[in-house]
Symmetry: C2
Subunit: 460 residues, 2 copies
């Protein structure tokens, strides 16, 4: 008999009413009395369980009553609508086949485990309500991102992960090698000519530079792939391995870039609200009260656009005892980000940042002090995207790279983009996990990545 998913049963209940159906899944709870019992079955296709009712007319009734949490079973039965009950229907079982009886040492016996405990059992946590919701939203949001860019004519570009250039000249990189470290210790010599690529290489911190080369061919491209940081920081928002989205658009200036960022974010939020109503309702109730309201408010708000300089003025004039004093020409702190999104009661694009705190490739403004960069700050999550118009003038870019003491020879191909058909172009980066923190209300980045990597943690 053809397997039917629990999702299908919920979405097309009327079609299956009084029909025989066949479902396979895992026991979430099980209770019984002398002559009958109930199983809450989850097959992973849907957030909700289906209720299976069985009775002692089944030959293996006694075995069924002994079913334990997480046991796998196959159920044949009739779908009966139950309009007056809590759940809209139940399955009256005619056959329950036990595929695997889970032993009593199953670690998630009871409910209410801490997220710390569940991280230690990361391979089981997607079986809980919280993580089932989070990782389904992760999947839905990832596809929403693809759908948005595809609908707008972008090309999906795979940036290389192993690279000899350090992208922003900023982030600390992991080294990748096939040299035998023990032999290095023994011989006292490091010979990169013997390494796999014949030189020192590492894991990418950004695919932007390579992305720009494809934007100059296809007009609009986006990356969506892993990125790495070897920073030894243990915060709730930093992971050593994470996924990034980096669109790059030719013939696009900073204003148009902000249009795209706003448009994309609203598209993703709408899609997740549309496709994950059960998951969002759960998160809204148990994890982050007000979550849905926050997201719906975003959909209806026009994002503010304001310069870094004007932001500093507002912060200085604010009647607040800052931990970090806001200064013109300097970066802003988390407390400032929070204040500004509250001040404008919604998302805020902060533009034209002091050039010395931003990356070398950003478009130099005529004032000689700022660059055409933009950070998007959202209420409750701080910086969600960082982007800029790129410096398209060869001489200006070269001068800036020299000023910063960069190796221009290694990046000659990047510089050459400014000779061979250069044009005004812009792009931004969005950390996928930051987005998920915003979408789910889950606070710790470790809880929105299936198997997180942070300093000292590389399990599974």
């Amino acid at each position: 008999m053809q397997k039917i998913t629990v999702r299908d049963l919920y979405k097309n209940t009327a079609t299956y009413a009084n029909q025989e159906v066949y479902i396979c899944g895992w026991v979430r709870t099980c209770r019984d009395s002398k002559t009958f019992g109930f199983i809450e079955l989850n097959d992973g296709s849907f957030f909700k369980n289906v209720q299976v009712v069985y009775d002692n007319t089944l030959a293996n009734f006694e075995d069924i009553t002994k079913l334990s949490i997480s046991s796998s079973i196959k159920v044949t039965g009739t779908l009966v609508e139950t309009p007056e009950a809590k759940q809209p229907f139940e399955i009256k079982a005619t056959n329950v086949e036990i595929e695997c009886l889970s032993p009593n040492d199953y670690p998630l016996q009871k409910k209410g485990h801490t997220t710390e405990f569940l991280r230690e059992h990361a391979y089981l946590r997607p079986r809980t309500n919280l993580f089932s919701a989070v990782f389904r939203i992760r999947s839905v949001a990832a596809i929403a991102i693809h759908n948005y860019f595809q609908s707008q004519g972008y090309i999906y570009f795979h940036a290389p992960l192993i690279t000899a250039n350090d992208g922003e000249g900023a982030g600390e990189m992991f080294q990748v090698t096939t040299l035998d470290l023990d032999k290095i210790a023994e011989s006292g010599k490091v010979d990169y000519s013997k390494d796999f690529f014949g030189k020192k290489v590492g894991l990418t911190v950004t695919g932007q530079l390579e992305g720009e080369t494809f934007a100059m061919a296809y007009g609009k491209i986006y990356t969506f792939g892993p990125s790495f940081r070897a920073e030894n920081s243990n915060t709730k928002t930093h992971a050593s391995e994470f996924w990034m989205i980096e669109p790059e658009i030719a013939f696009c200036d900073l204003e148009e870039l902000m249009d795209i960022e706003e448009d994309m974010l609203k598209y993703i939020v709408q899609d997740v609200l549309d496709k994950c109503p059960e998951e969002m309702a759960f998160l809204n109730k148990f994890i982050a009260p007000g979550l849905i309201e926050k997201l719906e408010k975003l959909l209806n708000s026009k994002f503010t656009r304001i310069s870094h300089e004007d932001v500093i003025t507002i912060l200085k004039e604010a009647n607040v005892d800052w931990e970090f004093k806001p200064e013109y020409g300097e970066d802003i702190a988390k407390e400032h980000e929070k204040y500004i999104t509250e001040h404008f009661n919604g998302p805020v694009f902060i533009t034209n940042w002091p050039k010395d705190i931003k990356a070398f490739y950003m478009k130099q403004n005529p004032d000689g002090k700022t660059v055409a960069a933009v950070d998007l700050e959202v209420p409750g999550a701080g910086e969600l995207m960082g982007g800029s118009q790129r410096e398209e003038n060869y001489d200006k870019l070269l001068a800036r790279m020299n000023e910063l003491g960069m190796n221009t020879e290694e990046l000659d191909w990047y510089l050459n983009l400014r000779k061979y058909g250069s044009c005004v172009h812009s792009g931004f980066g969005m950390g996928f996990e930051r987005l998920l923190i915003y979408l789910t209300g889950v606070e710790n980045i470790r809880d929105v990545i299936p198997y997180y990597r942070t300093p000292g943690n590389c399990d599974f």
Copy 2:
């Protein structure tokens, strides 16, 4: 004025007929006489160029005649339908703004460069017809894969890339470290407790094991992400960094797995033929004559299913002077793969392989000699997918791992999947670049990856 893409002009020509349009792009060719000229403009949105006609009524006529290949320009003009010409329409320019005049040292001046030359200029090659086609198909095929699995209710799962387990116990791994190699040479000591993760880690060779943990929660999942091999092999089909698709399905046996593989492949092929007719026509004409016919034939064929043993019998009975003699219980060679797909005149699933040449996690058949593995061989490309039913029995899997001398403690979580709700389940892996070689007819894996990594090559 609102930018319009060349794709839009081609898809909705009638709408824009006799209208003023504004397009931005790069000069592919340029020719002129005394009073007028033609520009072939490409904006990357479409495989084909648009013809721009200009004349000496334009103030900057002289400058326009000097336009060089790859220069970037912005054109305003009227779309005029030209039903009798080679191209269906042209743009009669009223304004041509030169954004960047490309110098004459642009490396791709003339046509007909070798693919080897273009690999050295990998940052420019997407501007050529061949690579423009290949990398658009790469994008379209990637999205087709997502669309297929999403339409079937799968969850997109991101497997970790940095890992402490070596997956198949097979592929050679890159090491990832933040230890200072020079200091190791100096001190003569390797201390992994000081490494970033506190132990020796590397880049993943497969996300399958982690994928199985999510299949046991969601029922159906797929990975689509990078994978790595530190093998020192310089062949046309091996890269050190590549993208893999690894679906994993609970309550699914080998027969059902083959249904899914066949269904997915046909979906992708159909989608690429539908969405990239211009690119496919180009490849069919200039790169791989017969390509479209080959793909259309696949769509209409029922894939053969045959056991490894029966394949060996056919090979032994064949009147062929084999370089490698086919033997029961042994692997088959490229020449055998080729023969078998030709023998059956289409794709062939070869099932039930000798257990000693396959991975530890594969379902052990009752004969004690074979496992429930399946390789899909396709005409002209050899092995495209490799999959298996997984051993779901705890004791049998443990015994096999011990037999192979594996570290069962490190993989206890994987073993535990066979205790906590184990079920019949199956999955397969498909190398994305192998698929692209098959789809595009391009022979070398270096030419279907934007920036390829092979031994000694890590440029850009």
